[in-house]
């Protein structure tokens, strides 16, 4: 895992605005964006399409409860 990702407590959220025709397209774009960042355990937390496009908050979990957290390793 990349060092910067090791320091993430639990999840990475990406917020942006997609110029797109509907919510479905915005959702697809957001999930593809997360994939580009190498995030695997992904979901759309919030999406709202209105006229100009979609405001979206997409999330990739680095850890879920019960995992082993790399940030516990400190600065090693």
């Amino acid at each position: 895992m990349e060092t910067c990702l090791k320091k993430v407590m639990d999840a990475v959220d990406i917020e942006t605005f997609f110029v797109c025709k509907d919510e479905e397209e915005g959702r697809d774009l957001a999930l593809k964006l997360l994939e580009k960042f190498g995030l695997k355990d992904t979901d759309i937390v919030f999406i709202e399409h209105s006229g100009a496009g979609a405001r979206v908050r997409a999330r990739g979990y680095l850890y879920r409860a019960g995992d082993q957290y790399a940030w516990l390793e400190g600065d090693k």
Partner: protein, 604 residues
């Protein structure tokens, strides 16, 4: 810099100069002679003034963001051209300034938003700033202080007296496995290793369900559960120490009247809980509430050890609670809930022995919405109250059955009945009315116009009945929040402001992930709502929110409904019988007497 040289303060901005005025006052207070120019001077005019007055430093400011780079560049070039830079310090500050930009352009210093005067004075005096990095000084508060539990409504008091006395008499001949296990847990914690302790352990195991027996006898873990390794525990200890060493806590409250703010945790993993608690403490949470898994409430007996769990709710074990307790800052209030399920007395005992500040005890909600048999929870709940008294732990009594559809008046009658039994036993209960968008009001339309009146009516009604602390929850604004974190945080903040305006003692707030059900709550979402509540407290200060006249009518209706409910309950043999009979909420209203622990009571 020599104090006999003047300092020139010049807003390089068409209108804004507040920051420089603040700096001007601070410099004067520190013995400097200053010249403060008005806004809208051109760079050459400012430079001319600097030269004529032979100043030692020039502090220019810029609030507006547009054209900043060009303007600052022009100013510093002109200053250099006339030789001003050679013997004069030049710094730039203000809302429109980025420190990196100032450095790039060649200024001696740049001060962005959030700068305090000491930083600028230190720059002038060529020394390190003396900043207070200790954060807010917070102390632990007992939210029941100052309340005398005297009833203003004597009719309700008389009805509650009758129900409470009959219920205590009814329960006095009964016990349960949970009550027995709690006393065995005390022995397990207090006795030295030896035959007596071994016997207590065996007895405890026999009084537990198969799932728990399998854990102790065969080492079988419940699904989605694993023990935490020694290495993980060691790493956690280092993480907690490091985080505590650098801990700086914000304070959410602006005025004395602002309530104590609790957050809830229960990710399933005590490590992630600790991490979220430290985030919460850093951003101003005053208290934290432990959420355990729902299956734990349906199982007789507790596990032991450092355990993590892949699903919602963090397993209650003596060791898990100790880990969480050890991670808390000294000022943080810690509540461990025991309001439903088959292990409530042991939960309160553990909470008390491990050092929780508060617990949560309930008979009505735990029976009608929490899945526990009313008779069982009445007996267990009374034992919980005795432990709460023993450990001097206040506890709240929730009315979450409203979320099932039970009208507020009936839910309040259940809350007051539970609280009155507690008062009779010498406890200090805290009333926890929901501060939400309940199914009842969705149907009746009492929140069609606003979210203020019905919530205000609840507080008014309770205040007219008894002088007791009130802690709305849980969490405030529930069912008003959406997955949009701005909306969610704002809704929480508005409810927080309303609660503060109504003078309550505490509130429980959710994260901005409250309405998101696709995964665990993320740490940053806790910061969203804590920051929003802090801003709401700052915005309103000692000012208030004024409900409409409808709130008074609603409050009267709630009080009348409570009396009606209690009159019917007083005709029953006990609280439990009234709960079975649907008096505190019927099946038609969405309240179902729980079946967990049904027919499990034993004679004393």
């Amino acid at each position: 810099m020599d104090k006999d040289k003047k300092i020139l303060l010049a807003p390089l901005d068409p209108v804004h100069d507040i920051g420089l005025k603040i700096m001007n006052r601070a410099l004067k207070e520190n013995g400097y002679e200053t010249i403060l120019l008005p806004p809208d001077y051109q760079p050459e005019e400012i430079i001319k003034s600097a030269l004529e007055n032979k100043v030692g430093a020039v502090l220019v400011s810029r609030t507006l963001g547009y054209g900043v780079a060009e303007l600052l560049s022009k100013f510093i070039d002109q200053a250099e051209a006339v030789g001003l830079r050679e013997h004069v310090k030049i710094a730039i500050g203000g809302m429109g300034i980025r420190v990196e930009l100032a450095q790039e352009l060649g200024y001696d210093a740049g001060f962005g938003p959030g700068t305090v005067p000491e930083q600028v004075i230190a720059f002038i005096e060529e020394r390190e700033p003396k900043l207070d990095l200790s954060g807010a000084i917070k102390s632990k508060k007992n939210i029941t202080d100052g309340y005398d539990y005297v009833y203003g409504n004597k009719k309700i008091e008389a009805l509650l007296d009758k129900i409470a006395e009959e219920t205590l008499a009814w329960a006095s001949t009964k016990t349960s496995k949970a009550v027995l296990r709690a006393e065995l847990r005390r022995k397990l914690m207090d006795l030295p290793d030896g035959p007596e302790k071994d016997a207590a352990k065996q007895e405890y195991i026999q009084l537990s369900d198969e799932k728990i027996r399998n854990f102790y006898q065969n080492g079988t873990m419940p699904p989605y559960t694993r023990p935490l390794s020694d290495h993980e525990m060691s790493e956690l200890a280092k993480y907690v120490k490091t985080t505590k060493d650098r801990m700086r806590m914000k304070k959410l409250q602006k005025v004395e009247e602002n309530p104590t703010v609790f957050i809830q945790y229960g990710t399933g993993c005590p490590f992630m809980d600790v991490a979220h608690i430290k985030v919460g403490e850093s951003w101003g949470a005053d208290g934290v509430v432990h959420f355990d898994p729902s299956w734990g409430a349906r199982t007789e007996g507790f596990l032991e050890g450092y355990l993590t769990h892949e699903q919602d709710g963090t397993i209650i074990s003596p060791e898990n609670l100790q880990v969480i307790k050890a991670s808390l800052e000294p000022s943080t209030l810690w509540q461990v809930r025991a309001h439903r399920g088959l292990n409530t007395p042991e939960t309160v005992l553990l909470a008390g022995k491990i050092g929780a500040d508060m617990t949560k005890i309930n008979i009505a909600y735990g029976s009608l919405g929490g899945g526990t048999d009313p008779a069982r929870l009445t007996v267990d709940g009374i034992q919980c109250m005795k432990y709460a008294k023993e450990f001097s732990m206040p506890f709240d009594v929730v009315t979450n059955e409203e979320l099932c559809g039970v009208p507020a008046a009936k839910a309040f009658a259940g809350m007051l009945t539970t609280a009155h039994i507690a008062i009779k036993l010498g406890c200090r209960p805290v009333l926890q009315p929901l501060f939400v968008y309940s199914p009842e009001v969705m149907i009746t339309g009492e929140m069609e116009d606003n979210y203020v009146d019905f919530n205000a009516a609840k507080i008014k009604a309770l205040r007219s009945i008894i002088d007791a602390p009130i802690w709305p929850g849980a969490p405030i604004g529930f069912l008003t929040q959406t997955e949009d974190r701005v909306q969610s945080s704002l809704s929480t903040a508005m409810h927080g402001a309303l609660a503060s305006s109504l003078g309550v003692e505490a509130i429980s707030i959710a994260s901005s992930d409250e309405a998101y059900s696709g995964g665990p709550i993320a740490g940053p979402s806790r910061i969203d709502t804590l920051t929003a509540v802090k801003e709401a407290f700052r915005f309103f200060g000692g000012a208030g929110i004024k409900p409409t006249e409808a709130a008074d009518t609603m409050a009267e209706k709630i009080v009348a409904g409570i009396i009606d409910t209690l009159e019917k309950a007083a005709e029953c043999e006990s609280f439990a019988e009234a709960l079975y009979a649907g008096i505190y909420g019927s099946t038609a209203e969405g309240a179902y007497p729980g079946r967990g622990g049904k027919d499990s009571l034993m004679d004393q």
